[in-house]
Amino acid sequence: MDQNPIPPVPPRMEDDIFLEARHIVKAYSAHKALDDVSIQVPRGKIFGLLGPNGAGKTTLIRIINHISMPDAGEIVFNGHALCADDVQHIGYLPEERGLYKKMKVGEQAIYLAQLRGLSAAEATSRLKEWFEKFDIMPWWNKKLEELSKGMQQKVQFIITLVHQPELLIFDEPFSGFDPVNAERLKKEILELRDKGHTIIFSTHNMASVEEICDHIVLIDHSKVVLSGNVAEIKSRYRTGLYELLTPNAYLTAEPGVYDIIESKRLGVGCRYLVKKADALSNSQLIAHLAEKAEIVHFSEQMPSMNDIFLQIVGQK
């Protein structure tokens, strides 16, 4: 099991892996949708599944959901090979959302919860709780088509997690939500993680990735091109650029220590953008700089996930 650590950067050993995809290959006629893709989703964490359109994210999600079968490779779910009954422990919010338009909201929520293994009575009581929580109880007996888009999204979200699945898969969950409700949803997702749910979060929205993901995998052209802990990845893609603010001081580049990329005179002093030599650590750089000038502000320019995404995907 552990003989083949596939991902470029395997998660640390202490991480308890809830779901693992091993060497997944899936081809549609001539086109390979997934080419030897392996991921490890740690338990109780939010795992970002990133990639440009058509990279193979949806194919992978469908395989995890037992909707389609891989041509090769396997999915290990909570320690055993994924089987049909495991879908009761998965909650899935597809990107393409839809419910029965003509069916009453409460009725169809119960129906869908029953298909996920809840009894009708249990589904009803749990759904009512959630409906209360999201302030949509008055719509219980309305047909879905009478609800606003945002309200339909809430219903869909509730349906995704009413059976208390151990694994939640959200595909672009924020699309269609207004900022207020998106914030609320984000809070809800973080809360779910804190309660111990494992969450796979697929999105294009890099800002939300930085806010909520613990680990990510980046898929491009059917292959895993980057994976790991978000903080680790960010440090891996450090630019070596630092922002520096000094009052009334003029810095000059010090070869072998740092270069000055940019300088700007401000009212209160000077703002520099310096590039550190690779061999130096941050504290060594500060020591050098402190000798030369009073430091008012010093910060490392961390790359945003967006930059990393563009950098990697843009290369191809």
Binding site: S68, D71, V87, Y92, P94, E96, G98, L99, M103
Partner: protein, 436 residues
Amino acid sequence: MNKIFIIIQREFLKRVNKKSFIIMTLLMPFLMAALVFVPLWLSTLNETGDRVVYVVDKTGRYSPSIVSTSEFTIVPVADMLPEFKNDSCSAEAILVIDDDLVKNPSAATIYSKKEVKPDLLRYVEMQLNEHIRKDKLEASGIPQLEKIIDNIETTISVSTIKWDKSGNESESSTGVAMVAGFLVALLIYMFVLIYGAMVMQSVMEEKTNRIVELMVSSVKPFQLMMGKIIGIALVGFLQIIIWGVMLAVILSVGMAMFGGDAASATAAAQMGPGMAMTAQPEIVSETAAIQSAIANLPFFELGVMFILSFVGGYLLYASLYAAIGASVNEQEDSQQFMMPMMLIMIFALYAAMYSIENPDGPLAFWCSMIPLTSPVVMVMRVPFGVPFWQELLSMIILFAADILLVWLAGKIYRVGILMYGKKPTWKDLAKWVRYK
């Protein structure tokens, strides 16, 4: 297994609770009964005998032949009076005979303020023809000629007796067998078409609503498809059972209201009013014959074959419909795949119609073996008597084809429901079947 039951339940209840279903189901038997009883009722309305016809017979020879019937009151009058043209005249028409019709066949004229009704014209022509025929026979001078001819003219009624295996005789009627067979075949044809299309509609709804992705993450696509097919079939069964019971009740109540001889009244209404009088005893015996022929229909065999063909045929077409519904993105795209299916269905109905002429001929035989046509053609043949081995073989082939098609449709369905965008071709469908 439990999940498929939940799906069946929903598909069933959703449709059964619809207002349109309830209204259609309750109203249809009344409409069907109306189709039977309204003409019957209207025909009783006509027999009032208040249609007055004046006869002006200038030759004085023909008026005795033209007598009042249940429908027409014949009043001989001496002369054509001008007030006959007035609105106050109660006569529907005035028949004027000017001359000897043997010498001058166009000497009879009917005057009327309105268009002369065809039944009156028919009655008058018939009576006059009969009279002239007798005149001509007498004029030939051969004694007793009329009697001789009457003797020659015998109406032959061939009764058809069917032997069963042990040689017992039972009265049969080709007409009854035709009607029974065709009704049952038509019922299957309509059921398959209407409910098959319902399956397709429902599959397409889920696909275009995009709910299907959520559904197939909970249940296997095959369960979803079968749940739908079975749920909709149960709706059809319920409808047919309700119709059957209601129709039986309405018909028996109606029969009681119209009296026991309602059937003969229908027969009488279908024949001319004049003939009804003379041919009454014959019709009564014919009614009895039809009744005994109906009683002698192989009801049990027909019932079993009906249910089997019904289930088998529906499964066959519903799975095809489901596959089509899953493959296409829009209603319009479905035409391409529907066309060949519709042609086969129509062919099946025509094959059934032509098979009536020769229920044991090669067309009937082969069409009752080929699974796409057999559900319709086989039941049509049953009332005529079909060898048991043929029935058995036909049903085995049908259900084997069902298993194959359900399996094939399941494959196409599974891939098709998640395929959006491009309109699929036949080649694509073949490819989908091979997907793992």
